[in-house]
């Protein structure tokens, strides 16, 4: 399924939302590379486990570097990559299960650090790769293979979560318009700080919500997704919270805050740090 590696045998199901996200990510990486006049090898894609994680093997054309790690740990890995090499464009790709369930504990720390990483989250409301179990964003009452009588946990609200923990760039979109999504991902990559682009990326096999998202215009049924009004001020916490209190799935940039990244804060400390050579360090233990 991969043009660059004919032996690679993973395939998304026909119609999977992740195809659109891949297209968008590829366009965004290319545009970022042109904009900053640097090779795509300066980008690192850190993938979680799940259908969406295979994204990292399916980027075509010029290749970024990649890590396809372990379940739930994209954020700490990306933290290491970014703080190890602040010049790299560091991008996380993960699903709702990976990012919000097993990996949920890493969100808070990534936000308080404002580490300069972009996370592109593919939310399909289900565990697809393991064949249809309930995920953090599955609806209350959802019938899945692991909730045969209905899910008895309320779904998490990812966007409200991101707002409440202080993520400095929050966008929401869906997989159906890759060109527009690419622009948002590129804006997120250019944001200095922790950015999340939360994408509705439906699973056509276990949780096909295309019609719910987009509606059926011919039949006069409105979808949940709506474009964020042009007069929305993403620099305003109140405006962002107001947007998130409305029903539906907003499409666009919800919140954006400029501030110091972890790297900036670290450099502030470097300026006053006691810098000693190894010999000086060792001599601090000398017996007089």
């Amino acid at each position: 399924m991969s043009k660059r590696n004919l032996e690679y045998d993973f395939a998304w199901c026909p119609g999977c939302g992740d195809f659109g996200v891949r297209r968008a990510l590829q366009v965004a990486l290319e545009a970022y590379s042109v904009e900053h006049e640097e090779p795509q090898a300066n980008s690192v894609i850190i993938a979680g486990i799940g259908c969406s994680g295979n994204m990292v093997h399916l980027i075509e054309g010029d290749q970024p570097f990649g890590i396809h790690g372990i379940h739930g740990r994209t954020l700490p890995i990306s933290f290491g990559v970014k703080m190890g090499r602040p010049d790299l464009n560091t991008v996380v790709v993960a699903g709702d299960g990976d990012f919000l369930s097993i990996g949920g504990e890493h969100l808070g720390p990534a936000a308080t650090r404002n580490v300069d990483v972009t996370a592109v989250i593919m939310d399909n409301g289900v565990y697809g790769l393991t064949k249809g179990q309930s995920s953090p964003t599955s609806e209350f009452g959802a019938i899945t293979t692991s909730t045969p009588l209905g899910k008895i946990e309320t779904p998490v609200s990812p966007l409200k979560n991101y707002m409440s923990i202080g993520v400095t760039f929050i966008a929401s979109y869906y997989s159906s318009k890759p060109r527009q999504l690419a622009k948002i991902i590129q804006e997120a990559m250019n944001h200095r700080g922790f950015s999340i682009v939360h994408v509705q990326s439906p699973c056509t096999t276990y949780n096909d919500i295309y019609d719910i998202l987009k509606g059926k215009p011919k039949e006069g049924i409105k979808g949940l997704a709506y474009d964020i009004p042009e007069d929305h001020d993403p620099s305003s916490v109140e405006a962002a919270n107001d947007l998130l209190s409305r029903p539906g799935i907003p499409l666009g940039v919800i919140y954006k805050e400029e501030g110091k990244t972890l790297q900036d804060r670290y450099e502030d400390l470097q300026a006053k740090a006691p810098i000693r050579t190894n010999d000086q360090l060792l001599d601090s233990y000398l017996l007089q």
């Binding site: 970024p64 890995i77 990559v81």
Partner: protein, 571 residues
């Protein structure tokens, strides 16, 4: 007659300055030219609880915390009751007469250190009073203590002089009390100062310093006893261009962060103890599978679960070798002395770079906070290895097959040529997921073959012709060595094998161990973990175990080894 060796123990409650007293005495003695080793034990709480701190002072390098106590300073009744049984014959206890009283006629005398300290005008000099009493009991030269006090409190602050005068006066008051008690435990022989520069340092500081000397430049960690001081050391010292240190939110974050940094080209490390090490399992498996250089320090404490956070045990060896699911055998370095902690930290960093993968440096509570004077390492002699990388035009792929007949191919670094995916799933040459048998076979073999590159760790082989070999590991080296020397002096025909590298073992060590000899392993765990691993490899090994949370006493090992080998071996 002059004595070569004394153990002085301060026992009481945490927060009473026990460690400060032992450290002060250790430093004064080390500055005077003696060899010292401290050892502390305390509960896992900020203040209070039964605690003790001791120093062994000797005219020769100190290998262990010794057998018994020559001078005990017991600050409360509980301390007296519990440490009394450790007294050497002729040992004397100085008890805190402000706190409790003892009936007349024992090998002890009381002292009112607080009251005496107040009379000098410095109420905080109580530990100086007791140090004076101790000095008198072992006939330690007072000028050395005066010199130490003068140096320590000359800090360029107003009032320094008054504090120095009061502290010296406090020492004299302690001396007088001891004198009038009439007790003495002997006379400390004059020191034989070494002719090289010395540092006095703990195990955790030494391994941190060693890693940095080999070019470590990225550290992420999470507080946990007894590894916390590595994090604190790094937070204080790992600064400057191209270096990064950060306290992260969990051990899971720590292992994955240093993996990301290792992938990005950094020399990265974390340090933890048992519970944190367990949390790092999956990340360690990922580092092995993706072949990313990094170092994990496991400063062992008692286990399982929360176990004994502030006690000595060597019970994580099996998990260090096999920390994760799947076919894995990690490189393991186990320093046994403070000096080996320094060189172990350096070698672990170099090993990770050399074979492009994770390395476990396993230390212990018994080494972590113990202070010791050692030769100042010469940094010019510490090698700094960096991984091979790829250049433009290289045709090789990241995960090509490798059979050891050529140098290990370079590792692509982000931003440079050779983009690949570091994939935790089994993968093909460029890191894409594959289920094809040939890839699993060839990369499994590559991952294990790379271990052959890991040589150069310190090892010792002595008297290898003997039928019985003593082979301790880690900090049990010291007491085992003392026992070995005593048994040899008594005519026992036994040999000695010791290796800082436990995986892979040096070839010379393997050939001695596999010659069919009986190998006796003193180790601080229940299962006899090192002998079990040796038996797996066909060595005729057995353990002498201890799981009290305390280090071995040499005298106990003389007895237990003697029992194992039988009178026949002793001439």
């Amino acid at each position: 007659m002059d004595k070569q060796d004394f153990v002085i123990r301060f026992a009481g409650e945490g927060g009473q300055g026990l460690v400060t007293s032992a450290d002060a005495l250790a430093r004064a003695a080390a500055q005077a030219g003696y060899y010292v080793q401290t050892h502390s034990t305390f509960p896992s709480q900020i203040m209070g609880g039964p605690a003790s701190s001791q120093v062994r002072i000797s005219t020769a390098p100190v290998m262990s915390s010794g057998d018994g106590v020559d001078v005990l300073v017991a600050l409360n009744q509980y301390a007296f009751d519990h440490h009394n049984e450790d007294m050497n014959p002729g040992g004397v206890t100085v008890y805190n007469a402000e706190e409790y009283d003892l009936p007349e006629g024992g090998q002890y005398f009381g002292i009112k250190a607080d009251e005496l300290a107040k009379s000098t005008g410095n109420a905080r000099a109580a530990n100086m009073v007791t140090i004076g009493a101790v000095a008198n009991l072992i006939d330690f030269k007072l000028e050395e203590i005066d010199e130490f006090i003068t140096q320590r409190f000359t800090r360029g602050r107003p009032g320094d002089d008054e504090i120095i005068v009061a502290n010296i006066a406090a020492v004299r008051l302690g001396v007088e009390v001891a004198k009038s008690s009439g007790f003495t435990v002997g006379q400390l022989a004059p020191p034989i100062p070494p002719d090289y520069k010395q540092i006095i340092i703990t195990g955790n500081a030494a391994l941190s310093m060693g890693a940095v000397a080999a070019g470590l430049n990225f550290y992420a960690g999470y507080p946990i006893s007894p590894a916390t001081t590595v994090l604190v050391w790094m937070e204080n010292n790992l600064w400057g261009e191209g270096r990064f240190v950060h306290q992260v939110a969990s051990e899971i974050e720590a292992i994955n962060a240093i993996l990301g940094a290792g992938f990005a080209g950094r020399k990265s490390m974390t340090a933890t103890a048992g519970p944190g090490f367990s949390l790092m399992s999956e990340g360690l498996g990922l580092a092995w599978m993706t072949e990313i250089p990094l170092v994990v320090v496991n400063v062992q404490r008692g286990g399982p679960a929360t176990g004994l956070p502030t006690k000595s045990e060597q019970s994580d060896l099996m998990s260090c070798m096999h920390p994760a699911h799947g076919d894995i055998k990690m490189p393991v370095l186990a320093p046994g002395t403070i000096e080996e902690c320094f060189y172990g930290g350096a070698l672990a960093t170099n090993w990770a770079e050399r074979y492009q993968g994770p390395v476990i440096l396993v230390s212990e509570f018994g080494l972590a906070e113990r202070g010791e004077n050692i030769r100042r390492p010469n940094l010019d002699e510490v090698s700094e290895e960096s991984r091979a990388t790829v250049s433009e035009g290289d045709t090789g792929k990241r995960y090509d097959s490798w059979d050891g007949s050529t140098p290990l191919p370079g590792m692509p670094i982000p931003g440079g040529p050779g983009a690949y995916v570091a994939n935790g799933s089994e993968h093909d040459e460029i890191g894409d997921t594959t289920h094809l048998p040939r890839h699993h076979v060839r990369l499994m073999e590559r991952r294990f073959k790379k271990l052959d590159l890991l040589t150069g760790a310190h090892y010792e082989i002595e008297n290898a012709d003997a039928d019985v070999i003593i082979m301790p590991w880690g900090s049990s080296k010291g007491p085992a060595r003392e026992a070995y020397d005593r048994l040899r002096a008594d005519g026992a025909d036994i040999g000695w094998v010791y290796s800082v590298a436990l995986n892979p073992l040096p070839e010379e060590v393997i050939s001695v161990l596999k010659s069919g000899k009986r190998v006796i392993v003193p180790e601080l765990n229940y299962l006899g973990q090192w002998s079990a691993l040796l038996r797996q490899d066909g060595v005729n090994a057995e353990s002498i175990t201890q799981y009290t949370g305390l280090p071995f006493r040499p005298a106990d090992l003389v007895e237990s080894i003697g029992e194992r080998i039988g009178a026949g071996v002793i001439a």
